[in-house]
Symmetry: C2
Subunit: 245 residues, 2 copies
DNA sequence: CGGGCTAGCTGCGAG
DNA sequence: CTCGCAGTTAGCCCG
């Protein structure tokens, strides 16, 4: 155990990536507080001060601390305790037995390149608003209001302001509330008629009812991830976008 | 490499916890799609079919798959590729070099016990609504509406319906929109006056303005995590809750 | 910095 | 199953 502690200390000092597998208890106090009794877990400490405790099930770590954590260690003759402190939050892991320990110098300069996120869909739509409605023309992207930011700010053939909220997946009540906030805000500022259009691949029944009751509109937008960008002709029944891969 | 693949296959078959550290590329396709060039990372496969890829920085995994992933492996003479499939989503990790490999049988039956989450705060408030306002009495918890569920449904001294939304941290526009939805819904159903009170330790300026413009109220609720439950006297200027530890 | 928002959000709980 | 929502949400980007 003592040599393990030395290895951990060295790894912390040299900002290495540390992986510890072992039996431990965990305690956390900060925005909330938690206790976890003894069990075998995987602990990861990253050079940037990320602190993760993984149980052998579930996707998220059972406990964690974000980038910037400052570590101290202690050995009482029986247990090695690693304590991480970060902006008033404390996470402590006490190992009674260590199964595996790695102090590594991992090299990784790559950044994940993701496609198919909302901004891409929003970009593709802004590129050709006729998918939503014929005669629609863009005024600005990301109209910033005190009450948030509209995805697309446009104008219809009649000169009405049209605020468009884009969702990449099924829209719920929250999406409608968001759009409603923007529409009401702009209605108050402009005297003219202000329309709100919610674009999403789907919408829940409650959200649809709420939307229509508030005088706003839903436009189904289907899209695919994995092929070239292609905006379907707006005369087609189904608005469809194919996105970059 | 071949023996590593055999170890991995055995671990997958026997539903062990597998930790692989090595140089790899990652590709994902599903709800979105992503590519990650070569670098040294930590991969964790859990017995429940959780699949995690951690770069040596940041809190969340760069790629992941949830519980229930089905794995296949391949070795082309150079690289070991592990592919996880889960509900139409595919995550593939190709190792060109393995730095460390562990196939473990981790025993952990413990569940984290967390205190200080919203439901606790909501419970404590429902216990003594006088913290919010004198004469307030509970009607029901978690009033379920087509447009969501109110945290606390109460009645004030004058017999008005009072809907209370509780937030454990600073409330923003979204919290106000939520409460507004509930209040408008209930106003439509009941003829009587319906009040909305947002309880939170803090509120943003925009949210406060929005809230008051909509005829709703803000009540500052301070609470602590870590001591015994104690509800301060409502005559005190500051409503304060101390929560279980 | 705070404020508002997306996320391959995840996970939970209610209907 | 779907829907709505909390989360120690985290991370991003804008003012």
């Amino acid at each position: 155990m003592l040599s393990s502690k030395r290895d951990i200390d060295r790894g912390l000092e040299q900002k290495k990536t540390i992986i510890i597998v072992g039996e431990c208890t965990v305690s956390y106090a900060g925005r909330a507080a938690s206790k976890l009794g003894p069990g075998e877990r995987i602990v990861i400490i990253k050079p940037d001060g990320t602190f993760l405790v993984h149980q052998p099930f579930k996707t998220p770590p059972v406990n964690y601390q974000k980038t910037g954590t400052v570590f101290t260690t202690d050995y009482d003759g029986e247990k090695i305790t690693i304590t991480g402190r970060n902006k008033g939050e404390v996470l402590s892991v006490s190992f009674s037995r260590i199964i595996a320990l790695h102090v590594l110098d991992l090299r990784d300069r790559q950044r994940s390149c993701v496609v198919g996120v909302e901004s891409h869909l929003s970009d593709a739509l802004a590129q050709d608003l006729s998918v939503i409605e014929e005669g629609l023309r863009p005024v600005k992207r990301e109209g910033i209001l005190p009450k948030g930011m509209v995805d697309i700010w446009a104008e219809d053939a009649q000169g009405n302001t049209v605020l468009i909220e884009v969702k990449r997946r099924k829209a719920g009540l929250n999406a409608v509330s968001q759009l409603k906030r923007y529409v009401e805000e702009v209605r108050k500022r402009k005297g003219s008629r202000v329309r709100g259009i919610l674009c999403a691949p789907d919408i829940t029944a409650h959200a649809k009812r709420f939307l229509e009751k508030e005088g706003m509109e839903y436009k189904k937008i289907e899209y695919e991830v994995g092929s070239t960008t292609k905006v379907a002709n707006s005369r087609q029944k189904q608005a469809k976008l194919e996105k970059y891969f």
